[in-house]
């Protein structure tokens, strides 16, 4: 498959008074054309920072401290601000978590949509309106002509997120980065938005990077999953393989911690919590919580190595983690 996006050894640091903190450490990932990749991890794992860093949305005191983001053959991480602006919201668009926060409450939906269009294209108001209506139809918003004149507060939560999706589609991007797009929504609406994203990716041949903490959602929508822990990719592979046969002890713990078994059984719990970024242990970051740890885990950081199942895992254990 042709690569749409290649992230190579990307690191993101935040310069704090107490010293630099690395939120994303040496992450390498790739995304094929029209591929759907899930980025999974708990809060603080660095998944949002990684998503933001792709389009260089890291604000101070954060900065990209190393690595490359190659998008359609160009390293966009080194682009100057103005050049980057022409990529953001154009070839790569982003969907954020809370649709109430991402839409401007004092502008009509139409104004906001046309603003995006005219920032990237030299078109007339009439043409812009036509494109907006077309995209609103794509996300199944009834009577789009009327809806363009309305303000965000006149829409329900699910409808607002549909509008955000429509805005992200305006410029026919090659890649959509969706950062927890349904976390603020109810399950029935979540299911609708996920169906919509899936359908759009397939019909428009768009790449999707879905950032979420919800393994179940990711497993239904994506083709590949990357599991992040403490700023590192600890496991990446085809979705079905990861769900059915996880290799890394953290992924295994995460899947077993989900309530899905018979009623009333004790859930598997991972002891302890994710280390603070300022106080990262030497060696494997998961080592203090891992039940399979060996001496070398505490001193050496395991590199990502290919597994038999066609994925990659950052763990010294050779299949021994599977009981």
């Amino acid at each position: 498959m042709e690569h749409l996006l290649d992230i190579k050894n990307l690191s993101v640091e935040f310069a704090l008074r107490s010293g630099n903190v690395r939120a994303v450490r040496d992450v390498s990932l790739s995304l094929g054309k029209g591929e759907r990749l899930g980025l999974v991890g708990e809060s603080g794992a660095g998944k949002s920072v990684l998503g933001f860093s792709i389009i260089n949305l890291i604000s101070k005191p954060g900065f990209i401290s190393g690595g490359e983001v190659i998008f359609q053959g160009d390293d966009i991480s080194k682009y100057p601000y103005e050049k980057m602006r022409r990529i953001r919201g154009n070839r790569i668009s982003m969907i954020f978590q809370d649709p109430m926060m991402t839409l401007n409450p004092v502008l009509t939906v139409g104004t906001q949509m046309k603003e995006t269009l005219r920032a990237h294209m030299n078109i007339s108001d009439k043409e812009a309106t036509a494109i907006c209506i077309d995209k609103l139809k794509k996300v199944y918003i009834p009577s789009p002509e009327k809806r363009l004149e309305q303000y965000p507060h006149e829409f329900s939560g699910g409808m607002r997120q549909r509008i955000v999706v429509a805005i992200s589609l305006l410029t026919n991007p090659n890649l959509i980065i969706a950062d927890e797009p349904t976390t603020a929504l109810d399950v029935t609406i979540q299911a609708e938005i996920m169906d919509l994203l899936l359908e759009l990716c397939e019909t428009e041949n768009m790449g999707l990077m879905l950032i979420t903490h919800d393994l179940a959602v990711v497993s239904e929508v994506t083709q590949r999953i990357a599991v992040l822990y403490a700023g590192r990719v600890v496991e990446v592979g085809p979705t079905r393989r990861i769900i059915e046969n996880p290799q890394h002890p953290y992924t295994q713990g995460l899947i077993k911690a989900l309530p899905q078994s018979a009623h009333g059984n004790r859930l598997n719990q991972i002891p302890g919590m994710m280390p603070s970024l300022q106080d990262m242990p030497e060696g494997c970051p998961f080592c203090p919580r891992c039940e399979h740890r060996k001496d070398r885990c505490a001193t050496q950081t395991p590199p990502l190595r290919p597994t038999e199942a066609g994925g990659f895992v950052a763990c010294f254990m050779e299949g021994a983690c599977n009981e």
């Binding site: 109810d186 399950v187 299911a191 009333g264 719990q269």
Partner: protein, 335 residues
């Protein structure tokens, strides 16, 4: 099993009409005064049996939290009765209510907001014990606190630390300790794990299940996370727009949901390794609880709605399987 708590035809409405000037409006040549009510809970009846976990599920705004708060006495019901262990408690006040406050405790959603940032763990846990047991001496109080902290897995060495020094999971353990420190029989937990990460969620859920086993607790568990509800509950109540749609055994509900809304809701749960797109699509959005639809509150989105659904409010009907469901279609056998 005996009933511990009975909720009988409870209504809870909130007046959001503001000042008298806001209430006045000019209609048909006359000035009229109208109140705007949010009808958060409407005519809900259910009972909770001793030792069980009754979960209430529904989408945001369906009134599940309001129901829990009304049961706990944080809100007065506008109509209806709440009986606890045979006594009507919603009319009790002051001293006569107090014994029930020790027997019924609550855990809230956000452990960042429900613990006072200016109190140490010791102060947080001490306050209810001292208030309800003024005769205990300092050592006895301390013993109770230390035992409870131990049970919920909070290191007793941190007794003098402030809540902000703990992580989210630890804080929720402290909230749980605060609820358990009075040795209650009944705990209402309002989305206790919604603010936590998956691996931490599992820790808190295990803790709650252990506490239930050790102390014989009865839970009213409020959650929007249906896979958690499936795991922890004995029975489940489904609410929509302030009304109870269905009340059933957990296996019955998840295996064989009856009400059209329950079916749609359950089909939307994302399943690990499942396929997207298999869920029942509902048309439209949840109406506002200010102007409730006439008849069945779900009729506007229900694929089976007919004339009767639009005009007549369905009563709860108990089926052979033990499931209670409020739906005309099921009563008539056309759903």
């Amino acid at each position: 099993m005996s009933k511990l708590l009975e909720v009988k035809n409870v209504d809870r409405h909130f007046d959001i009409s503001g000042s008298i000037v806001d209430q006045l409006s000019f209609k048909g040549g006359k000035i009229t005064r109208e109140k705007t009510l949010v009808k958060a809970v409407n005519n809900v009846s259910l009972d909770i049996r001793k030792g069980e976990t009754l979960s209430v599920v529904g989408e945001s705004g369906c009134g599940k939290s309001t129901l829990a708060r009304t049961v706990m006495g944080l809100y007065q019901p506008n109509a209806g009765e709440i009986h606890y262990d045979g006594t009507r408690i919603d009319t009790l006040t002051g001293r006569r209510r107090r014994p029930y406050r020790t027997r019924m405790q609550m855990v809230f959603q956000d452990p960042y907001a429900s613990l006072n940032p200016r109190m140490t763990v010791k102060q947080i846990l001490e306050e209810p014990v001292r208030f309800h047991n003024p005769n205990l001496n300092r050592k006895e109080v301390r013993d109770i606190i230390l035992t409870t902290m131990d049970q919920v897995g909070v290191n007793t060495a941190w007794i003098d630390n402030f809540a902000h020094e703990f992580s989210g999971g630890q804080r929720q353990r402290i909230s749980l300790a605060r609820a358990l420190v009075l040795d209650p029989e009944f705990v209402a937990a309002d989305e206790p794990i919604a603010a936590l990460d998956v691996s931490i969620q599992a820790q808190i859920l295990n803790l709650m299940m252990d506490a239930q086993e050790q102390r014989g607790l009865t839970y009213l568990f409020i959650s929007h996370d249906l896979s958690v509800v499936e795991h922890i509950s004995t029975r489940v109540a489904v609410m929509y727009l302030g009304c109870l749609c269905e009340l059933a055994d957990v296996k019955e509900l998840f295996g064989n949901p009856q009400h059209p809304y329950s079916r749609a809701l359950l089909s939307a749960i994302p399943r690990l390794g499942g396929q997207a797109g298999g869920h029942i699509r509902l048309s439209g959005d949840v109406p506002t609880p200010i102007n409730l639809p006439s008849g069945c509150v779900f009729h506007g989105r229900c694929p089976h709605a007919d004339e009767r659904c639009r005009t007549e409010v369905p009563e709860l009907l108990t089926l052979e399987s033990g499931t209670s469901v409020a739906c005309h279609g099921i009563e008539e056998g056309r759903v």
